[in-house]
């Protein structure tokens, strides 16, 4: 069902011939992909295949590393992100990291609203309350923390912290949410909560997810990218890729021959 809807949708992100090199070693080579709106797209591949670099290139976080060079373009709704200011771009592209990283000096409430506070965006108290409640409800954390909003975010359990970090990314109502192995530091119960959440979130957001966990990709993603040594080997509907991979390397990876 979702696949047929997604098919007619316009791509929200078009990656065109993107190459990224650290000191002339290419981590991502000539990748071209269109990521469709309101889908979950999983980036898979063995360690060191460039999946994290590709993800970080989408909100220009990869530029934090030294001696990096980027070729090609990434279009977010038809405008090249490499012509935008990274600061503005990142407000359109939320990011969630491997390990939960709430700001330790801030309360739960302040963590959710951190994007506004740290950027000095003025909002009314009522507006802030609404944003915090909406974001926490979106990640199904509201009922668990509504009585302790002013406690430090670091007091929460690992899974709750990760959902808090997702709420922090949602507070800006970004168009795309980038996730770098968001469940790799979580236990199975917390993982399944986050996975359920992602499926729900794609109604309003587009999610790009790096994962090591193939069954996770199979469970929650609509589209999958398989990368190997910096190249995009295969891209397509997750269902098709898992049942009928085109490239032999994909098949070998999916059947556990390497990776």
């Amino acid at each position: 069902m979702t696949n047929t809807i997604a098919e007619v949708k316009k791509p929200i992100l078009s990656i065109n011939d993107l190459s990224i090199a650290y000191d002339k070693n290419y981590a991502v080579k000539n990748v071209s992909v269109e990521i469709k709106k309101n889908t979950v797209t999983a980036i898979m591949g063995p360690s060191g295949c460039g999946k994290s670099t590709l993800l970080r290139a989408l909100n220009r976080m990869h530029e934090l590393y030294e001696n990096i060079s980027t070729e090609g373009e990434v279009l977010l709704n038809d405008s090249n992100i490499y012509d935008m200011s990274p600061i503005k771009l990142r407000r359109h592209m939320g990011m969630v990291f491997q390990r939960p990283n709430p700001f330790p000096t801030m309360s739960i409430y302040d963590n959710v609203i951190a994007g506004y506070k740290l950027n000095g965006i003025r909002t009314k108290k009522k507006e802030r309350d609404e944003i915090v409640e909406r974001s926490l409800r979106d990640v199904a954390l509201w009922d668990e923390v509504k009585d302790s909003l002013y406690k430090k975010g670091t007091f929460l359990s690992g899974g709750q912290q990760q959902r808090l970090c997702i709420a922090r990314a949602l507070a800006f109502s970004p168009e795309v949410i980038l996730m770098d192995e968001p469940t790799s530091a979580l236990d199975p119960i917390a993982t399944s909560k986050v996975e359920d959440l992602l499926v729900k979130l794609k109604e309003n957001y587009t999610i790009v997810l790096v994962t090591h966990n193939m069954s996770q990709a199979a469970r929650i993603s609509d589209y999958s990218l398989f990368m190997y040594l910096g190249e995009l080997v295969e891209y397509g509907k997750t269902k098709n890729m898992f049942t009928n991979p085109i490239d032999p390397r994909t098949e070998e990876y999916l059947t556990g021959k390497f990776g």
């Binding site: 990291f97 700001f103 000096t105 994007g115």
Partner: protein
């Protein structure tokens, strides 16, 4: 096979237990040797100094030699106190902190952000060398810069400048070390929210490492509190409370030096030292607590 059995059957336990005990006794004795000086110092200061400690001691200026001599001759308590020194120390230390903290913290941030780069390495090394410069030399430098050219005379400002230079490397180091301990992911979290770089540093990294920065600053302050040599060449001393930073000013360690040179004021040496020691001790304990909290 047999030899292994023989080895197994040998009983070394009594010899080993004895060795174990001897080492333990040695460790305990040497630890006691290490902590005994500070215990003896505190004991001596309290025993000799407590008699002079009173409200007057904190709020009155130093007596002149004649008053002290009369009091000593009559077997009375020496009148007056060291308010001029307390206020002078406070003024100079605060001013030194105001100069050194922004420079030190910003330099520390610079070093943290430019790990491995040549300029940063050079800065770090120079800062380490600065820490080794004898304090009397810093006093001389401040005398040349400030006493001769800025305030045209001995002044609290000159004292503060020399103290600030002393404090600087400690703040630089502790800032860098503190920031290095903050996980990189926190910085990324803020950057990923579209927070501009300077705000990431000022509103995320500095608050997160705040207790660490404070520890460095407090240790820096406790280090300069007792400095005497540079102040002799810069602040000179004063017998009254002075709040004008362009005028000669007293300080607790300067007063201790003055009392030492005046046979009538021996008692005041102990009480002033006791006060100084107490302040330094409290600062050290507070900064240890802060550091413990952070870890």
């Amino acid at each position: 096979m047999e030899s292994i059995q023989a080895l197994k059957n040998q009983d070394h336990s009594s010899g080993r237990l004895l060795k174990d005990k001897l080492v333990l006794i040695g460790v305990v004795i040497l630890s006691l040797v290490t902590i005994s000086p500070i215990m003896l110092i505190i004991f001596k200061l309290v025993m000799e100094g407590y008699r002079q400690i009173s409200l007057d001691f904190l709020i009155q200026n130093t007596p002149d030699t004649f008053e002290a001599m009369t009091a000593v001759a009559n077997g009375e308590k020496i009148p007056g106190g060291i308010a001029n020194g307390i206020v002078g120390t406070l003024v100079m230390v605060v001013l030194a902190a105001v100069i050194a903290i922004p420079v030190g913290v910003l330099t520390g941030i610079y070093l943290y952000e430019n790990q491995g780069k040549m300029m940063a390495n050079l800065t770090r090394n120079v800062s380490d060398i600065l820490q080794g410069v004898p304090s009397i030399v810093l006093g001389l430098i401040s005398y040349l810069w400030v006493v001769k050219h800025v305030t045209s005379g001995y002044s609290a400002l000159a004292g503060s400048v020399s103290l600030a230079i002393m404090m600087l490397p400690m703040i630089v180091r502790s800032t860098e070390e503190t920031l290095k301990m903050i996980p990189q992911t926190l910085k990324e979290a803020a950057l990923a929210l579209g927070v501009p770089y300077h705000k990431v540093i000022l509103r995320v990294l500095v608050p997160t490492g705040f207790s660490g920065l404070l520890t460095g600053i407090l240790l820096g302050i406790s280090r300069i509190l007792g400095e005497t040599a540079p102040l002799l060449l810069t602040a000179l001393g004063s017998s009254r409370i002075n709040l004008d930073i362009s005028e000669p000013t007293s300080a607790i360690p300067l007063l201790i030096w003055e009392f030492y040179n005046d046979p009538n004021m021996i008692d005041l040496i102990w009480s002033s030292s006791l006060l100084l020691m107490a302040i330094v001790l409290i600062l050290n304990i507070v900064s240890k607590q802060l550091a413990g909290k952070r870890n």
